[in-house]
């Protein structure tokens, strides 16, 4: 069952025929991604799942131009991302990296960080921006004054999320956000992401090898294997009735963590 956008106007991100080739240290060209095309819509979560080495992280890094593809195009709301100012693009397409890096200082200082990179005044602790981001990521106001580096992995990932959301992005990218988290924390994050996605009409694109997280969040599921889309569909249906042999094998195999 292919994934159909609710309506063309809801399409936020279009990936069209993307290919990524990297030169290995031995000097050979290695194809990491080949012929990748998909769309991501407003208020929907697109989850890219696949074994390690399938090219998931390579793919998501192209969407906010941490890297550029060797061929193919990516469009944000109808415009090629190459035409946009890269700094502007990264404000509209926020990204949460795998390991939450906390800058020195309090949680509040971390939330204010994105504003330091612009000419705008950072919002104060009692400002509506901080309150909104903290609420979305379920950070209590007491947590704002704490030293960010002393927080647990799950708490840091929530700060990471709030920090990405404070600038009101249109697209949120997440690269393996639960790789360092236990199961209850992962479930909490899944619930948070679902709420944020609907409440903010955010287009979420998430890369994970965590089936449970995919199951709880994916509207649109993409299975990536060896740099190609092996199967794509509506999240719940695809997990219940996998069509390709490759995806069935992945679901049954040890690579898929069900924790």
């Amino acid at each position: 069952m292919p994934f159909h956008p609710p309506d063309r106007s809801q399409v936020m991100l279009t990936v069209d025929g993307v290919r990524a080739v990297r030169r290995s240290p031995e000097g050979n060209d290695v194809t990491l991604l080949d012929g990748i095309s998909f769309i991501a819509c407003r208020a929907r979560a697109t989850v890219i799942i696949g074994p390690s080495g399938s090219g998931k992280s390579t793919l998501i890094r192209l969407l906010n131009r941490l890297d550029d593809p060797s061929a193919g195009s990516i469009f944000l709301d109808g415009r090629s991302i190459l035409e946009l100012d890269p700094l502007e693009l990264r404000r509209r397409v926020a990204m949460v990296l795998q390991k939450p890096f906390m800058f020195e200082g309090t949680v509040l200082a971390n939330l204010q960080r994105p504003f330091l990179y612009r000419t705008t005044e950072p919002p104060a602790a009692d400002s509506p921006e901080v309150a909104r981001a903290a609420e979305l990521a379920r950070l209590s106001s007491a947590m704002l004054a704490r030293d960010a580096r002393s927080l647990s992995g799950g708490e840091q990932q929530r700060v990471n999320l709030a920090r990405a959301l404070i600038g009101r992005p249109e697209v949120l990218l997440l690269d393996e956000p639960t790789s360092a988290l236990d199961r209850p924390t992962t479930d909490q994050l899944a619930a948070t992401l679902n709420d944020v996605c609907r409440a903010e009409r955010l287009a979420i694109v998430m890369v994970t090898h965590d089936l449970r997280l995919a199951e709880h969040t994916a509207d649109h599921l993409i299975y990536l294997e060896q740099g190609k889309i092996a199967e794509e569909g509506v999240g719940a249906e695809m997990l219940a009735r996998p069509e390709s042999a490759a995806f069935r094998q992945f679901l049954a195999g040890p690579a898929a963590s069900k924790e």
């Binding site: 941490l66 890297d67 390991k99 890096f101 800058f103 920090r163």
Partner: protein
């Protein structure tokens, strides 16, 4: 006065001095450290290199024209750049261009300022002043330069997560690499600061002792030493600053992407 002249050193005296090297070789042999041959070879190299440089300086001094002096300075810069380049394990992209241009501007500027305005001797190319002063400035600046370049490379590598996090939050290349640049700049200045703090207490600086040996009033020698320390600090600070100013950009693409 007799004390105003340096005691000449003939070959016989040099031979006595070299006896101390032979003594060192003997001690090394006694402890069987296996470095005797190297010690001997390196000492011969030192003798040969210094004799050669002495001869070259003799020619340059005798020429009484700016060209040989400038050529000598260019050669000194080239050699020290090459040594710095081979010593560093992980070189930044376009290392020679970045470090070379920074050394030329930083050391060239400070040397001109120092020789023309501070010391103010004539003619400006007088090798007796220009060569030792420029030599000390270049040598020290090169140390600072290689520390700055090496540390920047390490910081860019170690802080990859921090830099990419900042990029993801909308930082440009300069903002994202600021902590790395700051750490590299501080690393490049530390040896100069340590030297300044220890000067006169832990060690008597080479130039000052040299001047005293050749008959200069200690009070004058001290003033020269203070002035050259200032020049060295300025040269290190300017050169490292220029290296880092150009250096961090080498790690990013035009789209503020951290390369490789």
């Amino acid at each position: 006065m007799e004390t105003q002249h340096v005691v000449p050193m003939d070959l016989m005296q040099l031979g006595y001095a070299y006896g101390l090297i032979l003594l060192s070789v003997g001690l090394a042999r006694l402890r069987r450290i296996g470095q005797e041959k190297r010690l001997l070879w390196d000492s011969l190299r030192m003798v040969f290199q210094l004799l050669l440089v002495g001869y070259l300086l003799h020619l340059v001094f005798a020429a009484r024209s700016p060209l040989p002096v400038l050529l000598m300075l260019v050669a000194m810069t080239g050699f020290s750049l090459q040594i710095a380049g081979t010593r560093i394990k992980k070189r930044m992209p376009k290392f020679y261009r970045v470090v070379g241009s920074s050394i030329i501007i930083g050391c060239g500027g400070v040397t001109c300022y120092f020789c023309l305005l501070v010391v103010g001797y004539t003619p400006w190319f007088d090798p007796r002043y220009l060569i030792p002063l420029a030599g000390m400035i270049i040598g020290n600046a090169m140390n600072g330069a290689s520390l700055a370049a090496e540390r920047l490379s390490a910081e860019m590598h170690d802080r990859r997560e921090e830099i990419e996090t900042a990029i993801c939050l909308g930082a440009n290349a300069r903002q994202a690499s600021e902590p790395a640049v700051r750490a590299a700049y501080s690393a490049s200045l530390i040896p100069t600061m340590n030297t300044m703090a220890a000067t006169g207490i832990v060690a008597l600086p080479g130039m000052m002792t040299g001047q005293i040996l050749s008959g200069t009033e200690p009070a004058v020698a001290v003033r020269y030493q203070i002035a050259i320390m200032c020049a060295i600090t300025g040269a290190v600070a300017i050169t490292s600053f220029l290296i880092l100013l150009q250096g961090y950009r080498q790690y990013f693409s035009d789209a503020h992407q951290l390369k490789g």
